[in-house]
Amino acid sequence: MQRLKSRAGGRIGWYVILVGLILAIFTQSAGAVLTIEITKGLEHGLPIAIVPFSWSGPGTVPQDVSGVIRADLARSGRFDVLPQKDFLSTPHANREVVFKDWRLIKAEALVIGSVSAVPGGGYRVQFRLYDVFKEKQLAGYRYVVTAGQLRTVAHQISDIIYQALTGVPGAFNTRIAYITRTGGVHHPVFRLQVADSDGYDPRTILRSPQPLMSPRWSPGGRRLAYVSFERGHSVVYVQNVDTGQRWRVADFPGINSAPAWSPGGRRLALALSPNGHPEIYVMVLRTGAVRQLTDDSAINTEPSWSPHGHYIVFTSDRSGSPQIFRMTADGGDVTRLTFEGSYNAAPSYSPDGRMITLITERHGKFHAAILHLRDSALQILTDTSLDESPTFAPNGQMILYATIVNGRGVLATVSVDGNVRQLIRTSRGDVREPAWSPYNHQLQVN
């Protein structure tokens, strides 16, 4: 990756840095392509013009890099991506930018760039982001990558633009995991899939005729914990996403469920029921040693660690209905957190630890919601009725969840203020139980 200096900085200096990116190797590629639908958007996003990147090389460009960036930024709900037909000029290089052209169409930010084939293989991608009113470059980088890395570069450019303009890191260059179910009652097929955060490039990393549940990314984003019924009952596995190698980590009598990684990735909180009633346990992965944290005759499940590992929140019906409780990571100091509604479950901490996303029931409908820990305010985010499995984006700006639309399981995202909602549909089957990866697979500077 090279930083492109602004023209205000005098001559353009190029730092030659090689891109090192380990591409994920998956066991199987799935044909299903996800499409995105924006169901609700911000009306006053930041106006941004993204000029289609130029291409120089033989044939056609293998990936529409600027198209991916445009879609990313539009989907975030934070931007008003201006239509190309209004553009007065189409600059691709620094010297071709005329800021007046962009002020006239009320663009506040401008993105230009180019993709070119490198002799001997690979592609050079460069882009620059400008503040139109200050006539100033805000960011500019050059990358040399393979064809297979062009989408990743596009998402990383989106992340840079998002952070430069909003002050918050972008989460476009991340992945999502989820479960799909196809087939009827008698011969269902379950798949654990991993895709880019925009739903593209879905890969199946596990396929089973028996149910799969509860995928959870390890803090480093390299492993997934999940529940599989392939042995006839629930068993917790941990699988390396890149190699496909996996370990059976919890197969006790009763249910083996709800894996939740500790922030350091060394321990898993689990819901196990060796004594007939589900309790929260913590397992040290290296040794397999388990320690029981809760002990009553109620249901205790769905543990989630606070970002620094001090607390575990969980669902319990010890007070008569499912509610959210918090305890210290050694099982002490149990506090009930939810009091509104008769069904609150599936808690998951925000990356900053200030909020918990959960499912709450109102009038027979189950909504994704946010509990603000500072004042215990519970904010319902959706108007759909069968929401489940809410999970924060690693930048804390969006929540990914599953719901039913037109009789089908789909993934959806909603901004934490509830203002921007979108659906992510697959081409077939029911999609459920999404999990958003932590930041991973960043292009390495080396």
Binding site: I255, H277, P278, I299, E302, L386
Partner: protein, 178 residues
């Protein structure tokens, strides 16, 4: 495939009908739970009437036929309480097991899709345990019963409506050794 099973089954049924003097129409049960009665080996069979759902006519231990046995009990939302109708079904299954000491059962707990999947997995376990407890009180040894929960993952009805939810909130009795 079902028809292939019917012919040998009918023979067994006819023989045992003669033995116990049954007089009902000879027909495999049309109730959904009866469809899983695929094995005729060692079963005390008698004909199930076409209206097939009458678990209540067979409370007496030893008289409970395998074909007649209703093998599913249902629950209210987020509940593991067994109401009187479903209690009668548990009783007939306990009677069946007490009359057939070689038989073992897996109690499979299930929920509808509403709520969260992991809580539902726990709820399915609680439902299976609830049935197991009642079976134990009715004289069935605990080492003949296993429980497993599938939560919301194995619905018998795929709709997203009350009718489907009602069918999916259930514990299924899955026998072996019979």
């Amino acid at each position: 495939m079902k028809n292939r099973l019917v012919v040998p089954l009918l023979t067994v049924i006819a023989l045992s009908l003669a033995a116990c003097g049954g007089h009902q129409a000879v027909k495999p049960s049309s109730s959904s739970s009866g469809q899983s009665a695929s094995s005729g080996q060692g079963a005390e069979t008698s004909g199930a009437g076409q209206n097939g759902g009458a678990a209540g006519n067979a409370l007496g231990a030893g008289q409970q036929s395998e074909a007649q046995l209703v093998r599913t009990v249902h629950f209210a939302f987020n509940s593991s309480h067994i109401d009187s109708t479903n209690r009668a079904i548990v009783e007939s299954n306990a009677a069946y097991m007490n009359a057939n000491p070689q038989v073992t059962v897996v109690l499979q707990g299930n929920t509808d899709e509403r709520g969260t999947r992991e809580y539902n997995l726990a709820l399915g376990e609680r439902r299976a345990q609830s049935v197991k407890r009642m079976m134990r009180v009715l004289g069935v040894a605990t080492d003949r019963m296993k429980t497993v929960s599938f939560g919301a993952e194995k619905p018998v009805a795929l709709g997203h409506n009350r009718a489907a939810w009602r069918l999916n909130r259930r514990v299924d009795f899955v026998y072996s050794g019979n």
